[in-house]
Symmetry: C2
Subunit: 296 residues, 2 copies
């Protein structure tokens, strides 16, 4: 039986690193050569996004275990974007990558189930391996996602502590001496522990930002069965040293996402003279080396 936690552990071991490449195709940041001067329809732009993301995938597939398309940028293009997202996911799979759809969905009952069915598993229209989920609606809102993920051998990552400064407004509210995010963490760890794979982790993971290193230490300790998806490395200020505490003693337990820092590396002065694909490759290799040095 397929188990997302085991698939992820195997992919991390095979590639020897825990880099997740975020596929966030923003039109204004794309390599200029992909955007002709004439006005683009949403459908044209969706084709450009597909071409760009698939190009990134071709570069990173031999290097990293997993990619994370950001649903919002595809949704911005309407139905054409929905088609493009499916094509990008299929291409990633054809190159052997795991795929997290970063859509931060959250709802209750049969509505939550519909979201889960939309994204997770080979029976779904988008066929992702994993989906990010928002916990604000509470425990009964997570259950349908967990149930569908179990049924389809897929995974979810629940937002626990996000990487943005404003996350504090709710996530850090203290009650009985503990912040709100630690309650979410406790619930998520319970779900992970109840749904373990052979690797010792569950298919229910947690999103924990790289920008709060102390909380990473605390949450790694509190959540021994929970894979972490760690955003905020690079562009948002998180360093390899900051994310090191997300890993267990065997170097498992976390994947560290980088979107802009990899896919838009062509905009950096040091990569100005090389093809954008080479910039993506160099930036990916640099991040792999950076994480390795911090985990040594």
């Amino acid at each position: 039986m397929k188990h997302f936690a085991d698939q992820l552990a195997a992919a991390v071991k095979r590639t020897g690193n825990s880099v997740c490449v975020g596929l966030d195709p923003r039109a204004k940041n794309l390599p200029a050569e992909l955007l002709a001067a004439d006005e683009k329809s949403l459908s044209d732009l969706a084709d450009v996004y597909t071409h760009f993301c698939n190009g990134v995938i071709d570069v990173v597939a031999p290097l990293v275990p997993i990619v994370k398309p950001q649903a919002a940028f595809f949704e911005e293009l309407g139905p054409s974007g929905a088609l493009a997202l499916g094509r990008v996911i299929d291409h990633a799979h054809s190159r052997g990558l795991l795929v997290i759809v970063d859509a931060k969905r959250g709802d209750i009952g049969s509505t939550a189930e519909a979201y889960a069915r939309a994204y997770l598993g080979h029976d779904s229209p988008w066929r992702a391996d994993c989906l990010t989920v928002n916990p604000y609606l509470g425990d009964d809102s997570l259950t349908p996602f967990v149930d569908v993920a179990r049924e389809r051998g897929a995974g979810i990552f629940v937002l626990v502590k996000t990487s943005n400064p404003g996350g504090r407004l709710l996530q850090d509210v203290e009650s009985d001496g503990r912040p709100l995010y630690s309650r979410v963490a406790e619930h998520v760890e319970g779900l992970a522990a109840a749904n373990l794979g052979a690797c010792g982790y569950g298919f229910v993971g947690a999103v924990v930002g790289a920008t709060y290193s102390e909380q990473l230490v605390e949450l790694r300790r509190a959540m021994p069965h929970t894979w972490f998806l760690v955003p905020g490395y690079g562009s948002q200020g998180g360093t390899a040293a900051d994310v090191a505490p997300a890993f267990d003693a065997n170097g498992l337990g976390a994947v560290v996402n980088n979107s802009r820092g990899i896919i838009f590396a062509h905009a950096r002065p040091e990569y100005e003279t090389v093809p954008w694909q080479s910039a993506v490759e160099s930036a990916t290799r640099a991040m792999i080396a950076d994480l390795k040095s911090a985990l040594r």
Copy 2:
């Protein structure tokens, strides 16, 4: 300049009621005549959803101010569902209805902006008037939604207190003597008050469940400039008496959603012998009368 709060106030005054019809097309609950016996592709099912939702719209357009398609059920059908959602929204507009897309989106920075641009305003692929938004990522995650809504004369409803029992896990956590949802409420009221229309309400609203009548009383008092979107009437147990406190002295300030109770009224014994459209009309008229009696 178009202002969502004023559009909503005008629509409520014109129709004389505050009913929001939720368009949640679940395949298994559709009138049997719409589902032929043979297996349906996702694209076939998307056509059925469009036909069904547009049929509901034709019935309710002369009666109510607003409809609320649930994004999850369309997303479950993949790209075909994305197309269908756009068609349903366009049809609702052609019949003079306002449209809230219930997608509970939430993210940060340019990602949040992409979600807002995807759904809000006539420049967007889906052209909705309003979008539901999840606040777990904090204040800076709401700003891009507010900014895009302002720019496009659209609105947002932020989840404050949801109608499901599990909502308590986070929303009711007490800190300094107040529950978490009241912090969200305070922030949302601030955004509403900073973005007022001529009607005295802002274009930033709040989702407050019908199932917690005491909290409706408390929040109506604490949020004098905030439109409420009230789920949980009917199928989830909320009564007209429960939702009455959501309204101001002029009968404005809230719209009360009903999805299953209206669109799947054909399944109720009393409507067994009439066309499903007649069941929708009767259920809508019954809810209008029920709300009126409680607001008298």
